[in-house]
């Protein structure tokens, strides 16, 4: 016979004002199996917990029902208290008299009766409870950061400084990301590369950080603390150890007319190249799609001039599999292209550029060395129109969301232009100005008040070319929709921030959720912003939603602290609320018939196939086995199993039937 204690909490007025707690306590005394029942004003208070612990000892209780608030609030509190009194914590259950009863009903007898019923149900459950013990999982204390932009670099540095190994995987030849392309940054106008390159070098030289540039994640197996990640190291076509980064190969490469990605197509590069002078690592790659040798079988100039004989034309991609404890995704974003704007000429006008192209035009390291020259003819633009919300907040272009960073960078662009071309005219078409950051609104006001940037509230309907000018047809909605036509020399579209190419594919590889627009989904929009739904995988930066630099860095440090928290333990302790497959003696061995419907149903890839072997090694039966490290206790497999061979610990079929049958 069970000896169960029932502790009914008033939660001050929360429960006590609606439910007659004393009566409930009295009613519960008569439930079979209940050895002790009391009520108290605040059961979660220290005296309340002490009272509970003393009662356990005094009445020799083997199970406890706390009738109080939601288990989401205080289950850990009461389980700890029970455990300290010597009872297995999973022999403690909570009846939710607050959210499920007092907060949603009137004060009357039926409400009090319902409260007693909720308790009775759990008393029956506890009779079928078995002591459970937390699951221990080992932790590999090496993190992988995917994406080497400012967010990824920050995550890597924080984890490395916390004393753990980090592998930083970047798909392009250098780390640095979009931030390395920016000219100046808002709201302080400090040089982007000047503040970023020290971090890049620090990451490269950190003893705990291993850079894997020109590499991509190919496959992820395993679970929190125990991932196995396969990374494809794309062939640079040179021996990185022999290469000194002298740059002679780049100087001599005869193929110099290739559109330069780093300069957003506004400049050219060679077939063997480093993306930009401060690249980390400073080791070139050969672009095999454009290299003359790979196209015609002839050339090899780079090989001839290389003083250390580092060129390796025959080098192949390499697959490396690494044990990883936690993964942080920091894969960033892409910008919508000007080709996506029919009304602005489908990208055919050279002088209609996007925001990143403007950054390159304004950058001292850019194709014009920071001198304002428009792409078509290299002339200094006398009138520049900036169009905010280009493609953002535009459901006709599939982007109903706000891209968040454009208001600020458009103000910055207009300001940079005015600083470089004092006599120039700058116009900004905008819909709303969203400048809700520290010193942000002041920055926009400065553009308007001090740098004489003309802000016009309205969208632009059409841009076309006439006599070497771009005719920008807009309207001023603050003047009642008055048509406004500006003859511009250059137009900068603040195009929408979108999820990066292949982000959905990567999310599927990692079993991470993503939203309609391909941004990775956080576990909770408010309370778990850097975690994903998959344990051990975290998010940083614009791969989750449009973010500016301060936010990306803050989020990166948050993700790093999550990883460090994970790595602070030698073993991970997990709630034992996981599914188990029935096992028993031969000749049945298990109810499981090996149909593996559960395997396809499981959202967490937690179900494996296990062979039951005879002594001679012969396979007798193949059954399902649940990896407790991966199982999240959702119960899908339990519902799917045709032979009822799977049960969820703590919520077994037996326990649930007992609860229902008692009502």
């Amino acid at each position: 016979m069970s000896r169960i204690g029932v502790f009914t909490c008033h939660c001050g007025e929360n429960i006590g004002a609606t439910v007659d707690c004393a009566k409930v306590a009295e009613m519960c005394k008569h439930v079979p199996g209940v050895a002790h029942s009391v009520d108290y004003k605040y059961m979660c208070s220290d005296p309340g917990q002490r009272m509970m612990q003393e009662a356990i000892k005094e009445h020799n209780l083997d199970g406890v029902v706390v009738a109080a608030c939601s288990p989401r609030m205080h289950e850990p509190t009461f389980r700890r208290a029970v455990s300290n009194a010597g009872v297995n914590p999973y022999m403690c259950e909570m009846a939710n008299l607050r959210e499920h009863c007092s907060w949603v009903h009137e004060k009357n007898d039926a409400t009090t009766q319902k409260a007693a019923d909720l308790i009775r149900v759990l008393v029956e459950k506890i009779k079928h409870n078995t002591p459970l013990y937390p699951i221990k999982v080992p932790v590999t204390k090496t993190a992988m950061v995917v994406g080497g932009g400012v967010a990824g670099i920050q995550v890597a540095l924080d984890i490395a400084n916390g004393g753990h190994k980090v592998i930083l995987v970047e798909k392009s030849p250098s780390i640095g990301g979009h931030m390395s392309q920016l000219s100046e940054t808002f709201p302080t106008l400090d040089c982007s590369q000047c503040i970023l390159t020290p971090r890049m070098v620090e990451a490269a030289q950190h003893p705990n950080i291993t850079l894997m540039t020109y590499s991509e994640v190919e496959k992820v197996d395993g679970f929190i603390g125990n991932f196995k990640v396969t990374v494809r190291k794309k062939a640079r076509k040179l021996d990185e150890k022999l290469c000194t980064g002298c740059g002679l190969c780049i100087q001599k490469c005869p193929n110099k007319k290739i559109s330069d990605e780093f300069n957003e197509g506004l400049g050219t590069r060679t077939a063997i190249y480093v993306p930009f002078p401060q690249a980390v690592p400073n080791r070139p790659v050969i672009d095999t799609l454009n290299c003359t040798f790979y196209k015609t079988g002839k050339c090899k100039v780079c090989e001839k001039v290389c003083p250390t004989n580092a060129i390796r034309f025959e080098q192949e991609d390499e697959l490396v599999t690494i044990d990883i404890g936690a993964i942080v995704l920091a894969t960033g974003f892409k910008l919508m292209k000007t080709e996506a704007f029919p009304e602005y000429g489908y990208g055919k006008h050279k002088d209609i550029i996007d925001g990143m192209q403007f950054e390159r035009l304004a950058s001292a390291s850019g194709p014009t060395a920071g001198v304002m020259k428009r792409p078509s003819d290299g002339k200094e633009p006398e009138t520049v129109v900036f169009i905010a919300c280009s493609g953002s907040r535009d459901r006709s272009k599939g982007v109903p969301y706000c891209s968040k960073v454009c208001c600020m960078y458009t103000a910055k662009h207009a300001m940079l232009y005015k600083h470089k071309v004092h006599s120039g005219k700058a116009y900004v078409f905008y819909m709303d100005i969203r400048a809700a950051g520290k010193d942000y609104d002041e920055f926009v006001r400065r553009a308007i008040e001090e740098d004489d940037v003309k802000y016009i509230r309205g969208r632009v309907s059409k841009i076309y070319e006439e006599d070497g000018k771009l005719i920008v047809k807009g309207a001023d909605t603050l003047m009642g929709g008055e048509p406004v036509e500006i003859k511009a020399d250059m137009v900068v579209l603040a195009t929408a921030v979108q999820s990066n190419d292949r982000s959905e594919e990567l999310a599927q590889t990692l079993h991470v959720s993503y939203d309609t627009y391909g941004f990775f989904a956080e576990a909770h929009p408010k309370l778990r912003p850097v975690e994903t739904n998959t344990g051990g995988i975290f998010l940083a930066g614009a791969c989750q939603a449009p973010r500016d630099i301060p936010e990306s860095v803050a989020q990166a440090s948050a993700a790093a602290s999550k990883v460090l928290g994970l790595f602070s333990q030698d073993q991970l302790t997990r709630e034992p609320i996981v599914a188990v497959v029935n096992r028993q003696a031969g000749p049945t061995y298990s109810y499981c018939v090996g149909c593996f419907l559960c395997q396809t149903a499981c959202p967490y890839q937690a179900i494996e196939q296990e062979q039951i072997l005879a002594r001679n090694g012969e396979v007798i039966k193949t059954i399902a086995r649940i990896n407790p490290g991966l199982c999240q206790g959702c119960g899908t497999c339990v519902a799917t199993c045709r032979t009822k061979a799977i049960d969820l610990q703590g919520f077994s079929n037996e326990q649930l039937y007992a609860e229902i049958m008692t009502l």
Binding site: P342, E343, G345, Y346, K348, K462, Y464, E465, E466
Partner: protein, 288 residues
Amino acid sequence: MRIGYYPGCSLLGSSREFDESTRAVLTALGVELTEVSDWNCCGASSAHVLNHELSLALPARILALAEQAGITEILAPCAACSNRLLSAQQELAAHPEKIAEIEAAIGMPYKGTAKIVNILEVLGRLKDQIAAKTTKPFAKKVANYYGCLLVRPPRVVNFDRPEDPQSMDLMVKAVGATPVEWPFKTECCGAAFSVTRTDIVAKLSGKLVKDAVKRGADVIVVACPMCHSNLDLRRSEINEYLGEQHGIPAMFITQVIGLALGLDPVALGIQRHMVPVEFKETAAASAQ
């Protein structure tokens, strides 16, 4: 190829040459046209202004007549007609609950199964044949003017791209012409205001004529009777508005192809234009 034919009212009157040239060109290319019998006006630019049901019933009657005749595909050369037919067909497809009332109004069953095509779609299918049969290349610089109704609203017409469309450009290239790059391919000419607000038509069409000339075009090519009458019939008002004399002709795409195929200009109705179709010897022409 056999295809249903809905000429529409303009093609019987002010744009006869569009009908004549369409029939001439398609016959020369071996296309057989089956005219929808006893067809009525589609309601064009007026019905939808005054009564929405009427703007559905008029096109529905035409489509129902076509269905009765077993026509599965129906060519409406007039851009306004094809646009109205498509609009009504799509609205009735999206709101099948409206069909019963429409059937009662038109006095016959309506299924909405006939596919509606415009003249550029039909010519597009025959482009290789047209190129092969071209005997007199139309070696002119051409401003292709699509107007509103061929490409807008894109949800309804689902044809070419809504800005800077290409189908007519490719077509005139096939017969040896050089399309000029110009930004007003789909700007409105003033449409149905030809009679009531000629001032607006003069202003909007004037912008088109002036820009086409400025960009070196020898001729403006159209595929819509309303556009044509604004650019041709209203040329004196346009020139008066601009204070300039522009003699650049406006031709239907079917006339251009007909000339290239070596058909008799009179059979194509070339002589019917207010602005005579005469060309100065241009650089483009002599270069050919």
